[in-house]
């Protein structure tokens, strides 16, 4: 029997199920009964140690010896296969090869297991990567959402800051304005006191004079007396106008009627004989600051009287429903031109030579203090006071 060593590249034996190359070494053991030669594949590394180094024998000896060896080996092989242990060397070699065969089998199993393990490991790693990817994605989404929220919050904060700044500016302005008004109020109050006292003296004097000249029929004297009284009234009214505008006293509501307020207002307005005032017969109860509302009525009546230039008619009507009380002052004057209509309630706005330009602005302020509003329209000229209903009114 002849043993033939075949050099074979290890890579050829690697199977497709072993891509990672865990099977490093594989040996095939084949029996070829036709010529009794056992071919053995060994790794190249082994070849170097296993290759015979003896010199080649002569041809005749070789053939005869080969025949002998062939026979002996055949017999030995037979014995070996029959379990004879007469050839321990051969048997050892067989056992060694068997062991290698078995280790090859285990190697395959290990390789399979390792492959399975690697496959699972890869799958696990892939899963982990996938999980990490989705976590990163989720995290990114959260970060994006948080950034969006942050941007929104920042925008809201900025908006709020602007609002607060605006409010502070407004309040500062209002404070400055109120301080200015308080100063003006104090000054006006002193001026009013200093002007009204001598006016009062003049008024008493004209009244005394009128009393003492009751029998006087000189039209020129009577006209002069009327002019003096009108001058005193105008000065007094203008001082009151300024005081009413600058004073910001809180309203004090009382139960009264519209007739009562009109009566009070009319006592303050000098009405020429050619001016006819008609007031709605049916009275209406109202809950308001009587003094302040009488200032409003006085200003509206005076405004109508001045607009009509000494002659015409004023009609005062009023009504109320569940939500509001409306008082209308209608006059037969020429009306208000469209250009000045939007400015008519502005402070210091006046079209007259006389007057402070504070009368209608004061009306707007005082009606506003009652939570109401004042409106104006033409044809006929009508000022409407709209007051919200109160629990008592």
């Amino acid at each position: 029997m002849q043993r033939k060593y075949i050099h074979k590249n290890e890579q050829d034996d690697k199977t497709s199920v072993d891509p990672l190359g865990y099977v490093e070494r594989r040996i095939k053991f084949q029996r070829q009964p036709s010529d009794g030669i056992i071919e053995e594949e060994i790794p190249q590394q082994q070849t170097l140690t296993a290759a015979p180094k003896a010199p080649e024998p002569e041809e005749d000896d070789v053939s005869s010896k080969a025949e002998n060896i062939k026979q002996v080996r055949f017999a030995n092989n037979l014995k070996f296969l029959q379990g004879d242990s007469a050839f321990p060397e051969e048997k050892k070699e067989f056992e060694s090869l068997g062991k290698e065969f078995e280790s090859d089998k285990i190697g395959q199993e290990v390789s399979g297991l390792l492959y399975q393990f690697e496959k699972q490991k890869i799958a696990m790693v892939q899963r982990q990567i996938q999980e990490e990817k989705s976590l990163v994605q989720e995290l990114n989404q959260k970060i994006e959402s948080n950034i969006t929220k942050f941007i929104n919050l920042e925008s809201r904060l900025k908006h709020k800051q602007e609002e607060l700044e605006f409010e502070v500016r407004l309040k500062t302005q209002k404070l400055i304005e109120s301080e200015r008004l308080a100063a003006i109020g104090e000054l006006s109050s002193r001026l009013a006191h200093d002007l009204k006292n001598p006016l009062s003296v003049l008024k008493i004097f004209t009244d005394l004079l009128r009393h003492k000249t009751q029998g006087e029929s000189d039209p020129a004297f009577v006209r002069k007396m009327d002019a003096a009284n009108a001058a005193i009234f105008r000065m007094t009214h203008q001082i009151d106008n300024v005081l009413d505008f600058v004073r910001e006293a809180p309203i004090e509501r009382v139960d009264t009627t519209i007739h009562d307020i009109i009566k009070l207002a009319m006592s303050r307005v000098p009405l020429a004989s050619k001016i006819n005032v008609t007031v709605q017969q049916q009275d209406l109860p109202i809950n308001c600051d009587k003094n302040k509302m009488s200032v409003v009525f006085t200003n509206l009546l005076l405004n109508a009287v001045q607009a009509m230039n000494g002659q015409g008619s004023i009609n005062v009507a009023f009504y109320k429903n569940d939500s509001q009380t409306v008082i209308e002052f209608e006059d037969s004057g020429p009306g208000i031109t469209p250009e000045i209509l939007p400015k008519i309630f502005d402070p210091l706005f006046t079209t007259k030579q006389q007057g402070t330009g504070l009368g209608l602005a004061t009306c707007k302020n005082l009606v506003g203090q009652h939570g109401g509003r004042i409106l104006v329209k033409n044809n006929p000229t009508t000022f409407s006071i709209v007051l919200p209903a109160t629990n008592k009114s």
Binding site: K196, N197, L199, K203, I204, L208
Partner: protein, 118 residues
């Protein structure tokens, strides 16, 4: 006949007003020019009406009203003033004068007050 005292720091105002009161047949018992004199005159004459100005130097109308009320809680006091400022307003309301008339006033307002006493 209705009796009265008048108190005002403006001398001309007092003179003219007293003349006017006489037309209305009111006997003026005394004339004062500040709050302290008002109290003294009131305690001396116990008039039916006190015509009292508010803003006066040294002792003002508030001082007078307070002390007259102490002397007689039912005293009939008419405050005649040019301006009632916010500072004094609450105090005046507390002391409850019978009337508050603003200067310059109409003769009818004084007539109405005098008729109330008559």
């Amino acid at each position: 006949m209705v009796t009265a005292i008048t108190i005002d720091d403006d001398e001309y105002a007092v003179e003219l007003f007293c003349e006017y009161l006489e037309i209305l047949q009111v006997k003026v018992l005394g004339k004062g020019y500040n709050g302290k004199e008002a109290v003294e005159l009131y305690e001396k004459f116990k008039p039916d009406i006190v015509f009292l100005d508010l803003l006066m130097p040294d002792y003002d109308g508030i001082y007078a009203l307070e002390n007259i009320r102490k002397a007689n809680p039912d005293a009939f006091v008419v405050v005649i003033t040019a301006v009632v400022d916010q500072g004094r307003r609450d105090k005046i309301i507390e002391l409850k004068p019978n009337h508050v008339i603003q200067k310059p006033f109409d003769p009818e307002q004084i007539v109405a007050v005098v008729n109330e006493i008559k």
